[in-house]
């Protein structure tokens, strides 16, 4: 990748490399498939995928090592639109998108689509409001723009703080995902898995900064999209007969709706729903006195058995109760695990929610609140997308404004490929569960269900509540992640495809973590150290500081992750709301409104961030406990909005504050106004300003 070659030659060279790479990867998968037929064990397939892909990323990292500032921070600004699109796609799609999205859609039906819309539609805002202008400005980080546009270090410092706050929240979720995947597919321990993954992240970003991260992300995108689409296409052929299931799953959705109605009305299902409610209540109360609950459960089972025998119940009923009794532990500690697994049954007390129906609720008012919250999540995810520094930063790396615009198009196109497949996967998987798993005998479960039930009860638990030996829907408790993880097996594909899916999930998590860590390290080394503490630092010194910080931040993030902080979806949502409230107003008004000034931006960013943070503190259970807030949530809620959509309030208040405070304080100077003109035109005759950093 030498400096001297022309853009078009560089582009065709890249195309050639990545085509060879994609071909090589597919051959690797096929070779493993053959090896599997010849008897290679599952664990070894897992290892092969893990070490081959991480080794590959490391190799790209080593080949792209650099100490040059432009190379390190913005990949030399030579990344063609098409490839920047792929890199952004990988940067964007995290473990939550890859593994979690389809599961969320499976469990929450229409309401889950808020994330699908939010995480794609946000790119319209990136394209229309930010990417081309930031590219023209052409420095290294987002706080760079705030510093230049809003005169100095106060605005820059707030930018640094906000960038670190949202990126760090987000990176913890990614490293968590890396740990889960590596431990699940290789049998390594969670903690070891985290550090193996971390090694993969670091070797790449540490040596080559943005340059290495960019070329690795392109490679990761190719793996993750192949891994996501292969099993879905296969499953699609099975259920629709067409290899483009995204277009043809309408009739399957119709069948799912019919099955929902049938299951809702089915008398046995109704009976089991009552049992599920009771079992969940029993499990929830159990921890208070575990020994007593364990004994009580045993007594219940014995009574059931006596009753069944006395009433001459069919043999298989007697047998099922006997099995349950034999399996029931006497040790209260072990029983605790059983009870914990049964808590999930609480959701089964109600009939299945209709998959395609928007905004369910018991009355008009509840439905209205559901609709408002749906749109609230869409709003926050969209504006958050257009404000997350690790994404915006990617548009500094294209050769010019023209390519930056095209690059947003390619970004969304590559992201779209995954997001418009996820709803389809959710429906296909649901059809399989409703039509094949439900109604099958416990002694003859479909192979995938039998396998996953043993692997991890958190992902799949099936309990014969009414002892009839047949699976009812209300007896199944699913963890969302199983949808993507088990799809290859549901589709009847060999294990090698499961390994491929794990490699894809790993690629998604690693690529996002790379981009985020780089953002944090750059905010500290470039914005804080170079721009504010030691402006005379040499290039080599700056890059070295950045590399050291990268390792420190990565280790800190891994350390925080080791506490296994709960609810990933909330963490991610919070990062989006915070970004939307702090960055979006200041960035966009800085470009579109010349009169926006330093004080407006400073007060506006703080106000947006403050309101958003306040709302989360008073409405999110974890934070409420932390601050000892006891008054009911509803008394703090505005318009019934949930904590995850706090940006709905933070962003407008940020915009309004910038507007009012700017008008109350003096207009920005001529130089700043010239800067605004400068970023608005890709190439302005007579413009002497040069903002692009080399």
């Amino acid at each position: 990748m030498s400096q001297a070659i022309t853009h078009s030659a560089f582009f065709s060279q890249l195309k050639k490399y990545y085509l060879i790479y994609a071909g090589g990867f597919i051959s690797f998968v096929l070779a493993l498939a053959v090896a599997e037929q010849m008897g290679l064990s599952r664990q070894w397939i897992g290892y092969c995928f893990l070490f081959a892909t991480i080794g590959l990323y490391a190799m790209i990292g080593i080949m792209s090592r650099t100490v040059d500032a432009t190379e390190y921070y913005v990949a030399g600004r030579r990344v063609p639109a098409f490839f920047n699109g792929m890199a952004t796609g990988a940067d964007w799609m995290s473990a939550a998108s890859f593994i979690g999205m389809a599961g969320t859609l499976y469990l929450s039906g229409f309401d889950g689509l808020a994330f699908v819309m939010g995480w794609t539609g946000g790119y319209c805002l990136v394209a229309l409001f930010l990417a081309p202008y930031l590219r023209k400005f052409g420095q290294f980080t987002i706080p760079d723009f705030l510093g230049a546009r809003y005169g100095g270090n106060i605005a820059r410092s707030i930018g640094i703080f906000a960038a670190i706050l949202c990126s760090f929240t987000y990176v913890v979720a990614q490293i968590y995902g890396v740990g889960i995947i590596t431990s699940k597919f290789t049998g390594l321990e969670f903690g070891v898995g985290v550090f193996v993954g971390l090694g993969g992240i670091l070797v790449c970003s540490f040596l080559g900064g943005m340059r290495a991260v960019t070329w690795t992300q392109v490679a990761q995108y190719i793996i993750l999209i192949i891994a996501y689409l292969t099993p879905v296409v296969w499953l699609g052929v099975k259920h629709t007969g067409i290899p483009v299931p995204q277009l043809a799953y309408g009739p399957v959705l119709q069948k799912v709706s019919d099955l929902e109605k049938k299951i809702t009305a089915d008398p046995t299902e109704k009976e089991v729903r009552v049992l599920a409610k009771a079992a969940a209540a029993e499990a929830a109360a159990a921890p208070k006195d575990l020994a007593k609950a364990t004994a009580a459960r045993r007594a219940t089972l014995e009574a059931e058995l006596a009753k069944a025998k006395a009433s001459n119940a069919p043999d298989y009923v007697v047998k099922s109760i006997e099995n349950a009794l034999n399996a029931w532990p006497t040790d209260p500690g072990k029983a605790g695990v059983f009870f914990a697994a049964r808590k999930g049954l609480a959701a089964n007390a109600n009939p299945p929610r209709p998959h395609a129906q928007p905004f369910p609720g018991k009355d008009e008012a509840a439905q209205d609140i559901a609709r408002r919250n749906f749109l609230g999540i869409v709003f926050c995810m969209m504006f958050g997308t257009a404000a997350l520094p690790h994404i915006l930063m990617r548009y500094y790396t294209t050769p010019n404004v023209r390519q930056a615009r095209q690059s947003v198009f390619w970004s969304l196109f590559f992201i779209f490929l995954l997001y418009f497949t996820a709803p389809c996967l959710a429906v296909l998987a649901k059809y399989d569960v409703y039509s094949h798993l439900v109604g099958s005998k416990f002694s003859e479960l479909p192979a995938w269900a039998a396998a996953w039930r043993v692997v991890d009860p958190a992902l799949l638990t099936i309990t014969d509540l009414n002892f009839d030996g047949i699976v009812q829907l209300a007896e199944i408790v699913l963890g969302g992640d199983i949808i993507v993880l088990a799809t290859p097996e549901i589709a009847g594909l060999p294990y090698v495809v499961s390994g491929l899916v794990a490699a894809g999930g790993l690629a998604a998590a690693l690529s996002t973590a790379d981009g985020l860590l780089l953002t944090i390290a750059n905010a500290l080394s470039h914005d804080l150290y170079y721009k504010m503490i030691d402006p005379n630092a040499s290039t080599a010194r700056r890059v070295t500081v950045s590399k050291i910080l990268l390792v420190v931040v990565a280790l800190t993030a891994a350390w925080v992750t080791s506490f296994k902080p709960g609810n990933i979806l909330f963490l991610v949502g919070a990062a989006f709301s915070l970004a939307a409230s702090s960055f979006f107003p200041a960035l966009v008004m800085g470009i579109f409104w010349k009169r926006a000034n330093k004080w407006g931006a400073i007060v506006g960013m703080l106000a947006g961030l403050g309101v958003c943070w306040y709302y989360m503190c008073v409405t999110y259970p974890f934070l409420r406990d932390l601050f000892g807030i006891t008054a009911p949530i509803a008394s703090y809620q505005w318009f019934g909005m949930n904590a995850i959509s706090a940006g709905v309030f933070g962003l407008p208040i940020g915009l309004l504050t910038i507007f009012v405070v700017s008008l109350l304080t003096p207009a920005p100077d001529k130089e700043t106004q010239d800067l605004v003109e400068h970023v608005r035109y890709p190439n302005l005759a007579g413009d002497t300003l040069k903002t692009e950093a080399a």
Partner: protein, 88 residues
């Protein structure tokens, strides 16, 4: 630096196309989302329309919005002589 009338016109046209595309985005997102229940009574390609739009239709509109913006603006740059020239 003084802007010419042509420069101002370029910026005005940029603002207009931005506003128009933003409107399209707004309709595809929030108007569609608000009326999803009502749209579901219409069937499209075997899907309830409200579900289809949120799962796929709006996403396709987003891709088209961005593609059109890039094409239109890159053309406008050349028309008004503010383009960056060919990459060497």
């Amino acid at each position: 630096m003084e802007l010419t009338e042509r420069h101002r016109e370029y910026w005005r046209k940029n603002l207009i196309i931005t506003a128009v595309l933003l409107l399209v985005w707004f309709i595809a997102t929030f108007i569609e989302g608000w009326y999803a229940r009502e749209l579901n009574s219409i069937t499209f390609l075997g899907f309830p329309l409200g579900f289809y739009m949120s799962a796929q239709g709006s996403l396709i509109i987003y891709v088209l919005v961005i593609g059109f913006y890039a094409w239109y603006m890159n053309k406008l740059d050349q028309e008004y002589g503010v383009d960056e020239g060919e990459l060497e």
